[in-house]
């Protein structure tokens, strides 16, 4: 979707503010949100693509006001309701109370399994023998498309011409995978675009932007 998350090339956000010696989490709740996302992700009811899309559909004015982990919380709450882990009513009945001592269900992530869970090589890359549509050095054009669902083709490259720099192999296609329409495995390439092609003649002649793009985002130029 042409959402607020697709920020590449926008103006008006001001300078990059750097905090010296920044902590990993600024408040304990940020760490809890991070951990809850991981622990609930371990139930494998949704993919990383679905989880990204869940944050992208946040209304733009809320997205811009929210911090990174507020967006994670918003996305997680919605995924939990959608997948029947909790109800909206339970969520709205927010109370500050300690949890009851409930036994952990058998599918839940256990503390002792955390190292193995985090070191698993999860399968965005797949072994399907899909032939590449392009080869290194090909001149390509990023498609001028406006998908309504999740997509990983940023607006700033759509309709622009670039060159295949390298073929990364076969990966799950996020556009279909995010909405449960299958993995549609295909090649992902690094495609470079000159800064002038993307931003016009005033851009630096020596600069390039490399973007990872799937077969379905590209045509031969």
């Amino acid at each position: 979707m042409n959402g607020i998350h697709d920020m590449g090339g926008m103006h008006g956000f001001g300078p990059v503010i750097v905090e010296e010696n920044e902590p990993v989490f600024h408040e304990p709740w940020e760490g809890r949100v991070f951990a809850l996302n991981n622990a609930m992700g371990a139930w494998r009811k949704w993919s990383i693509d679905t989880s990204r899309f869940a944050k992208e559909v946040m209304p733009p004015h809320e997205y811009l006001r929210a911090s990174y982990y507020e967006r994670w919380l918003w996305g997680l709450e919605n995924l939990l309701v959608e997948h029947g882990f909790i109800t909206r009513e339970e969520l709205d009945r927010r109370r500050d109370r300690p949890p009851k001592a409930a036994p952990l269900l058998s599918g839940a992530l256990r503390a002792t399994d955390v190292p193995r869970f985090l070191s698993n090589r999860r399968a965005a890359r797949v072994d399907d023998p899909v032939p590449p549509q392009f080869k290194v050095g090909d001149q390509v054009a990023a498609r001028k498309i406006q998908p309504l669902g999740h997509t990983r083709i940023p607006r700033y490259v759509r309709g622009r011409q670039g060159v295949i720099d390298r073929d990364h192999g076969v990966f799950i296609f996020p556009d279909t995978h995010a909405s449960g329409l299958g993995k549609k495995p295909q090649h992902v390439y690094s495609v470079w675009f000159t800064a002038k092609e993307l931003w016009g003649s005033a851009a630096s002649p020596n600069d390039r932007v490399y973007v990872d793009l799937w077969d379905d985002y590209l045509d031969l130029a």
Partner: protein, 211 residues
């Protein structure tokens, strides 16, 4: 200030009411714990991993080794995933790695304009600025301006390559080795390598150089 005469500030943390976000998170955690879907020990272990175990020291060790060992450097540039796995740094958001070599003529800079993809296995969790709208919006359209704000001024003839992490590849910049580091040990070399240098928003300074 009206009826609100005293500040429930940070100096009275035990009396302070929970903020809305704190309450939401606490309530959600209790709800999921009640149902046996998560437990405290698991959440603590996940947090502890990224607060104390996985961070930019991992990436710095990779860079130091690449500087000191040319065959490792070659393997790193050819297949970063395998080379980094040799050092034991595997896992979440590092499943498919690419290393980008900075040279006198090419400067690489990494961004994720669409969310905040970041190579957790070698750099830990991303800093706020990397996830912020200013960085995500400007790194692709004004990389030299962004670099200038970080104190990196590049001559016009240096090629800037910005890498937008739109897929599941994660990028690690291999910064240039500074002069005057010939006799240093791997640990001493790694101590020079900053997180920002491995994102591409800094260069590695020679030992003793001013920040």
């Amino acid at each position: 200030m009206g009826e609100h005469t005293h500040d429930h500030g940070r100096d009275h943390p035990h009396d302070a009411p929970l903020t809305d976000i704190q309450l939401r998170v606490k309530a959600l955690e209790s709800l999921l714990t009640d149902k046996g879907l998560v437990d405290q020990a698991t959440l603590d272990a996940l947090i502890d991993t990224y607060e104390t175990k996985v961070g930019p020291r991992n990436g710095a060790m990779v860079v130091a080794r690449a500087w000191a060992d040319s065959s490792f450097k070659r393997r790193l540039l050819e297949n970063a995933t395998e080379a980094i796995a040799e050092m034991g740094f595997i896992g979440r958001q590092g499943e498919d790695m690419v290393a980008l070599e900075n040279t006198a003529m090419v400067h690489n800079l990494v961004v994720c304009t669409l969310c905040s993809c970041y190579p957790w296995s070698v750099l830990g969790l991303p800093p706020v600025w990397f996830k912020s709208a200013p960085y995500r919006s400007r790194a692709v359209i004004d990389p030299r301006g962004v670099l200038r704000e970080f104190g990196v001024e590049l001559p016009d003839d240096v090629e800037v390559r910005v890498w937008d992490s739109t897929a599941e590849l994660r990028y690690l910049v291999l910064p240039e080795r500074p002069p005057g580091t010939e006799g240093l040990s791997l640990e001493e070399l790694a101590a020079l390598v900053t997180r920002n240098a491995m994102i591409g928003t800094a260069k590695v300074k020679a030992p003793g150089a001013k920040r």
